[in-house]
């Protein structure tokens, strides 16, 4: 359940990251004619996420720009602080959504 929630949030953030750079993409010559469709897809995805979790995501995003960050080799790639090994074991199993003790971002383990 948590794994699914985290994956949905990651996909939501991926769309948000894309939307942030639409202007730059257009300048480079890429088509962005489907922007309204992308927004619709974002709304549909957001509707499938529990409201408290979505609220938490939006609040973190407003404050820190990136609400979820990858963790590699136990390092939070948001603030580069090493995460405790005990958190890493559980985090990799996706049983719980953990946040970085230093920057407060939600963590997504890559390895």
């Amino acid at each position: 359940m948590v794994k699914k929630d985290l994956e949905l949030l990651v996909s939501l953030q991926d769309i948000d990251l894309m939307a942030e750079e639409v202007g730059e993409m257009e300048k480079l010559g890429f088509s962005v004619s489907g922007y309204s469709e992308l927004k619709k897809a974002r709304e549909e995805l957001a509707a499938s996420i529990s409201k408290p979790l979505l609220f938490r995501y939006e609040r973190l995003r407003a404050k820190l720009k990136r609400a979820i960050v990858p963790v590699k080799n136990d390092i939070c790639l948001g603030c580069f602080l090493r995460q405790p090994t005990s958190i890493g074991v559980k985090g990799r199993e996706d049983e719980e959504i953990f946040t970085c003790e230093n920057c407060g971002r939600m963590l997504y383990w890559l390895d």
């Binding site: 953030q13 991926d14 990251l17 894309m18 750079e21 010559g29 890429f30 990858p70």
Partner: protein, 153 residues
């Protein structure tokens, strides 16, 4: 971005001289699978979803036989580029409706060190706008020759 700098983001295990794919979907999947096989990406489904959403925004087939599927994803930790080509050409809904022969897949993390993601895309577009470069890329068979071309040697 200088071409020698751009060259750092390619890997020989992310190079395919003859793509097997015959459709847009399978071309995206085949290129993505290079990242997955080489363990640069753990969660294939999430990145595939992102790439599909990017195509929803607009086809990354930029015309003249070139496509640059790209995107930032939380499921990646470094910027990498995969290259693939096909002689037959693939219908990629490109902006000029022409089949695509040259594919550059650019995957980037949410934050990339030095903010190189957009300069990489810009540099690729500049290189690929030149017909002579596209013609040479179509003939490339080895990663070494490919890298020489990217570096402008």
């Amino acid at each position: 971005m200088h071409r020698s700098e751009l060259a750092k983001y390619f890997k020989d295990n992310l190079f395919v001289a003859n793509l097997k794919a015959r459709s847009k979907e399978s071309a995206i999947a085949e290129l993505l699978d290079l990242f997955v096989t080489e363990k640069y990406i753990r969660n294939r489904d999430i990145v595939l979803e992102m790439l599909h959403q990017r195509e929803t925004l607009g086809s990354t087939g930029i015309g003249k036989g070139v496509a640059i599927p790209h995107g930032r994803t939380t499921a990646a930790s470094e910027v990498l580029i995969a290259f693939g080509k096909t002689e037959n050409g693939i219908d990629f809904d490109a902006i000029d409706d022409k089949p695509v022969h040259l594919f550059f897949m650019v995957i980037a993390p949410p934050n990339d060190e030095g903010n190189v993601y957009l300069p990489i895309l810009g540099s690729l577009v500049t290189i690929l706008n030149e017909k002579s470069n596209r013609d040479k890329l179509l003939k490339v068979t080895t990663f070494t020759d490919f890298m020489a071309l990217i570096k402008g040697e």
